[in-house]
Symmetry: C2
Subunit: 350 residues, 2 copies
């Protein structure tokens, strides 16, 4: 303990003494041990209310506060975690970030935010992350094999959020994209739809690819051959553009449109209604994926798969904290089923 070398005998009695107040000063004023003071400032440590009140009163009277950065050099814990996220303005991620932030905060942990413009810009973020000695990382972006190896080499706990690596032993919390996509296809086909349009997501989004692949596979399994797929980028605008692309490709608008996220589905519905004079769902059924706030607005009432964000973020935070405490825990993958929301944007079978 660095503090043990400091001569504490006269510090409090000398009005000209301008050195920083230490935990030993607080302990003396509170009449408790230094380790008790230390525990009171350690997030999550068990301390009685009486002890805490006594210590906090002394700490406040002296203007004491622990230096988190200096402490991290002694304890090798910074109580910082990094959250790497992209597409922050996509309507799904703010909710994820808000929940992660609150749940870490409840555990006395601070979030260092890395909001990337796209999933490709992870390398620069990782260089920063190593420098700040974070205790662990939540990544809602994909990483290369080399980057993963670097996490292992450094023994730095990592939990993926909605990124699943089938063949690698990593920690991951996911919504079951394929299951959700198959469920949506099942419902649309059961309602009698035979002609399909699909609007995809960003090239560099793993989740978008998973949803698209599962949708195509399931349609084919069910004997549907009339499928027109176009690219998109998760935005509202790409929904309208996608409808136009599909119309140009096939000369008409098919009876069912599957969008890989809610925001593009909302854009598709608005374009169908206001640019193509189509009724939703009477003329065209539209489905999305995510269950974002606006999917539930009366203008859309979207048929979609809601990701259980609360449970997923709780699982990610818990898994990361367990591995910060005990880095030798084996990797774990937790896959949550999405919740099927049957709105009125798609015809369903009676």
């Amino acid at each position: 303990m660095a503090g043990k070398n400091i001569d504490k005998s006269d510090a409090l009695n000398d009005p000209d003494n301008a050195r920083a107040v230490t935990s030993y000063d607080v302990a003396r004023v509170a009449g408790v041990s230094q380790s008790a003071v230390s525990r009171c400032f350690k997030p999550g440590a068990s301390v009685s209310k009486k002890m805490r009140d006594k210590v906090m009163k002394a700490a406040n009277s002296l203007g004491y506060e622990p230096n988190a950065i200096a402490r991290s050099l002694l304890t090798r814990r910074s109580n910082l975690v990094a959250v790497i996220i992209s597409n922050l303005t996509n309507l799904y991620y703010p909710e994820v970030l808000s929940q992660l932030s609150q749940q870490f905060s409840d555990r006395g942990i601070r979030v260092l935010l890395f909001a990337l413009e796209g999933e490709g810009k992870t390398e620069a973020a990782l260089q920063q992350i190593w420098q700040y000695q974070v205790d662990g990382v939540i990544a809602a972006v994909k990483l290369t094999d080399e980057q993963l190896a670097e996490f292992n080499r450094r023994n730095k706990p990592l939990v993926f959020y909605n990124r699943f690596y089938t063949s690698l032993a990593v920690n991951a919390v996911c919504c079951d994209q394929a299951e959700g996509a198959r469920h949506l296809v099942n419902d649309l086909v059961a309602a009698g739809h035979k002609r399909f349009g699909i609007i995809g997501g960003p090239e560099d989004s793993v989740v978008a690819h998973e949803r698209m692949a599962a949708t195509m596979d399931r349609l084919k399994e069910l004997g549907i051959a009339d499928i027109t797929s176009v690219s998109g980028d998760y935005s509202y605008e790409c929904g309208g553009a996608g409808i136009e692309d599909i119309r140009l490709k096939r000369g008409e608008i098919p009876e069912a449109i599957i969008c890989v996220n809610d925001l593009s589905a909302i854009g598709a519905i608005d374009a169908l209604r206001y640019s193509h004079s189509k009724k939703v769902p009477e003329d065209v059924s539209v489905v999305g994926f995510d269950g974002v706030g606006p999917s539930n607005w009366s203008s859309y009432d979207l048929t979609t798969v809601r990701q259980p964000v609360g449970r997923m973020t709780d699982a990610a935070v818990t898994m990361l904290m367990e591995r910060i405490e005990n880095p030798s825990l084996p990797p774990e993958k937790r896959v949550f089923s999405g919740i099927m929301i049957e709105g009125t944007s798609a015809k369903i079978s009676e």
Copy 2:
């Protein structure tokens, strides 16, 4: 410089030497001075591309990286700033946070995120902020006089985002809430509207109060007396609840509804259309404030005041960085006019 005391003579030649690689090792391998290596890793420092390539190559070959936390103890700069924000799931703030994060990142600064559930929980956040020795703070929440005094006592740079203190010398970047609100009222009254409903915002939101007060003042200035105002909380749901409250209070729905933010205006439009069979704007004009993404969606095409988020966040980041470099700069307030967006959700005069 702590590194100067390390004996560097044999470190690189001894394969069993497990000590951390230092900037001196990198300098030796790269054939440059230690200060050149240091500059290459200092955000914003001027270094030639040739020098940087040489140093980075040597650093990579040795596995060198600077310890940002240890460096912060020497330089008294952590290159961390805190951003305190509330209502993250309100549709306006994710865009603000995303822009702030990118602009700090471009300057080599990391964002420590404090996402509060409401504006009341600032004290706990500040205790953490002092501990992490951030270089400065952007606060999109209000602070008490005592908390402000603490910033001054610590000489810690602070810039308020959309919080304006008329009588205090603080740094602040704001959208002119009152001007925007008055502009909206002017347009509605010029179009002949005489009966008004107003849906307010959260009790603890300064911005909501400013917009509400300016709206009421301007309506009265223009001789409008028939005003029914109800409370809200910025949410989509409160828009519909507000319409119902207004209807119950006066027995009918007035011809113009002013909402203090876009999200509640969108909720009001949906409720008017789907619960009260009213046409917008033929039966009722609705206006919002913020200019969030969905305000522009075809289903709403909201008449609103857009906050110039890009310019405001750029101003906030620039002002904070200037004050981190030079804490003696005098306080400054920058007020940006909002941009009037004339959608089709409100009748306007021909």
